[in-house]
Symmetry: C2
Subunit: 490 residues, 2 copies
């Protein structure tokens, strides 16, 4: 999606790579396996905050990275200075041309643990090199989009504004965090640069400093009404909400109305939200301003919003800052990028990673994902991870089974099977057009509605089924058994 303005998407992040991707690349080349075709899957293992699903986000930035992937002379000189690389490898990097195939789940889809969000097929050196950037890009934005979606869900029809730039973890935390927040459902951001880059609504009026600059709060509000007569929203907690801010606001609102303008409303940034907003709502109504809105913005998250709304707080809109932009309650999205297959003599050979931690065992092979919907309700039933060669014939019954308790089976008749992923690069060439952020936001809302209420439940949601086809399950268990036999004698 091209912005109307300078979108600054030509940033070269090639060197944002874990050093071991490069030492491995160097060794792949030395061992003559640099061009061996391999398959990597990016997936995650659990939904943050005990939620039922995540919102896929970050594909557009992944594309920008891949489009700008190249090593400059400075990069090569730096790498040479570390004395860790052969000249042959540095030559390889300096003439590097990206040639991988990449598949990804489009942004906005609800996504679930253990399904490959991104798959890369290509020469070992290249596919390895992408690990760090694929992970940081998808991990970060999916984390924030998912958190935003939780917050917006409890806020219901009340718009949520993203206000967190100042507490973000770095500039991109603020910029791409704002993007992901809007994908997750936020109505606007306070981040002007994000507004400009992604063509999303920006919002904001005044800070406490505006009020403090003047000799009195009343003077400050008057000056604001003068500068923004038709967008007059004043912050009323600089000194005392009920004894100072509120009466001053009402006085200025009356003066504004006398001049033919209607005030927008007030914002409160501290104190007891339920108590203050009920008092403020009544006072504004009594003074003849029932349409003046109340905006709240004091370290909010989904839990506080849920509680104060249940208590009867009178709120029209929320400004949510640090707890959204950092996903404070669970600030790590644990996506991983694992080798799942190699091509040998033209055949795809599945590869597995076993671990003392069972959850770290991978699903081997080159795979695709079908999302299976109930044909009548148009609600998602399960995601089915198939071998890339498998094709589901919707005219025939489909039997799903639990990959752990394999005797648990479900036979489907009236269903639809939709492929979840799109190819975004074909032999290194971009073959996908990202929608705009506004379109993705809309798409996310539609797709969330295609989930059953049980999956959307806020606490202890239903565990959405991510199943393996019989072929994938067999491949995995054959590999596990062969290693188990190998180690059993030791």
């Amino acid at each position: 999606m091209e912005s109307r303005f300078d979108v600054r998407n030509d940033r070269d992040l090639t060197m944002l790579v874990d050093f071991y991707e490069l030492t491995m690349g160097n060794s792949y080349l030395a061992e003559g396996v640099g061009d061996q075709i391999v398959y990597f899957d990016m997936y995650f293992r659990r939904v943050p905050d005990g939620g039922g699903y995540c919102i896929m986000s970050g594909v557009e930035q992944l594309i920008e990275y891949l489009e700008n992937l190249r090593f400059t002379v400075d990069d090569i000189n730096y790498l040479r200075s570390t004395k860790a690389f052969s000249e042959k490898f540095l030559d390889y990097l300096s003439t590097f041309e990206f040639s991988c195939d990449v598949w990804a789940i489009p942004e906005g889809y609800p996504v679930f643990p253990n399904e490959p969000l991104v798959t890369v097929r290509g020469p070992a050196i290249q596919a390895q090199l992408l690990e760090t950037m694929i992970l940081v890009t998808i991990n970060h934005q999916t984390l924030i989009a998912t958190k935003a979606n939780r917050i917006c869900r409890v806020a219901g029809h009340r718009p949520v504004m993203e206000f967190g730039s100042r507490r973000a973890q770095g500039y991109d935390g603020a910029i791409y965090g704002a993007r992901a927040a809007v994908i997750g459902g936020c109505a606007a951001t306070a981040n002007t640069l994000a507004g400009m880059m992604f063509d999303i609504p920006v919002s904001g009026t005044m800070a406490h400093s505006w009020v403090q600059l003047f000799d009195s709060e009343l003077e400050a509000f008057r000056a604001w009404a003068n500068a923004y007569p038709d967008q007059c929203l004043v912050l009323i907690d600089t000194f005392n909400v009920l004894k100072s801010g509120l009466p001053n606001a009402i006085q200025v609102f009356k003066e504004l109305r006398a001049k033919g303008h209607e005030p927008l409303g007030i914002r409160i940034d501290s104190g007891d939200i339920t108590y203050l907003t009920r008092k403020v709502r009544k006072a504004l109504d009594d003074a003849g301003f029932p349409k003046a809105v109340i905006v709240i913005s004091n370290s909010l998250d989904e839990h506080i919003i849920k509680d104060v709304l249940a208590e009867g707080a009178q709120i029209d809109s929320f400004g949510v800052g640090e707890r959204l932009i950092t996903a404070r309650s669970e600030p790590v999205f644990g996506g991983v990028y694992k080798l799942v297959a190699v091509e040998k003599d033209g055949e795809i050979v599945p590869r597995i990673k076993i671990s003392e931690n069972e959850e770290k065992i991978t699903n081997p092979g080159f795979k695709k994902i079908y999302r299976i919907y109930d044909q009548d309700a148009d609600k998602a039933i399960a995601d089915l991870i198939c071998d890339n060669d498998e094709v589901i014939d919707e005219s025939k019954p489909l039997t799903l089974f639990d990959p752990v308790s394999t005797w648990k089976k479900k036979r489907l008749i009236r269903y639809k099977a939709e492929l979840l992923r799109k190819q975004i690069f074909d032999h290194g060439k971009l073959c996908y057009q990202s929608p705009s952020v506004t379109e993705i936001r809309q798409f996310a809302q539609e797709q969330v509605q295609r989930q059953w209420a049980e999956v959307l439940r806020f606490e202890n949601p239903h565990n959405y089924f991510v199943d393996l086809s019989r072929k994938v399950w067999n491949a995995k268990h054959n590999l596990l058994n062969s290693y188990s036999e190998e180690f059993s004698g030791k």
Copy 2:
């Protein structure tokens, strides 16, 4: 500090600004107060994780931002499109020249709640505009430097490597997070770009994918030993640490020694650290490799490191990822930027922000900070926030008092008083040279040693004294009393 390579510090982040800074600027101009000289303080209210101090970080990036502060034609066109600004204001922005004075505590110093880390003096529009970037810059890096310092403290003499890029909150979270982690004490980072930009050590060897690419683990280790005979560190948990990874590593180490090379050691990324490392240490020792190091990297933080070392885990070095790079246990650093004074008719008039939340009340006035040391022990006793005009005469006794329980006093005789802050911009011109990251890291370690052990304590540390001079205390309480009287009748 100039890197030997392209440091990419010319990024224009002017538009990374909360929209309300701009609407306020527009209104300051409309009200004719745009050029009024104001003072803003940036400070924080509490140390994350219940720690005793934070490590100041981010000044170099703040400087880069201020040096690149300018509005492009695209920026102005975008702002015009929002219909929120007068042409007069857009003209002002397009010819904007930064002219503020800025003071900051140099990077690496231990810093404490409620003392101004950064102070800006300048025209209202300009000083206001800087809020978002000052906060996101200092908040983020100080958060990570502080977390890294906690982790490195428990690791003691064992080097800690920063491995978290893939789980960082965006690209800058990874890049500047790595910088801050080294300032906090990390020995190296896995982030190649950070290594290049900040001239800090990078490290990393192999991932599980290296092992998976080959037909067997033994083959994979042999290939690695072949590519890096003198830096052979192998990851031994791809299939099974004790039954597969360890015996294969020892076999390859023996082959390597037979060829005249000594192995570096092994890394484990899963499983029970204490159990595995004790087994691995003994096996390596028994096999004749007592110098082979054991590196551990599995969702570590200061608590796990403390526990496994206490249990007798055999570890030489730590790779710390997601819990460091996101400061997972407390991922928000709550720095604020508050107006503290305005100049009227050549006089500095203190301004205050009162709040229903007492902790949100500001310290008014244009101030400076002395750090007071015990002359004999060279340990810090307290920080004293003074009016900018006050000068401490070390030849005379100094009386400190608690700003809340004012009867608690302490009279000092043999002390040193060192000014904590440096001016970094003088009327918009840079007047400060940032040290290198390596120098800052060294400085931080020295300055932490100038704190008493009680302040460094890991749990429930002593509350370091941040006191107000009598003059600052009086100014604050005069303002509080005047508002209290104004509201008491309402």
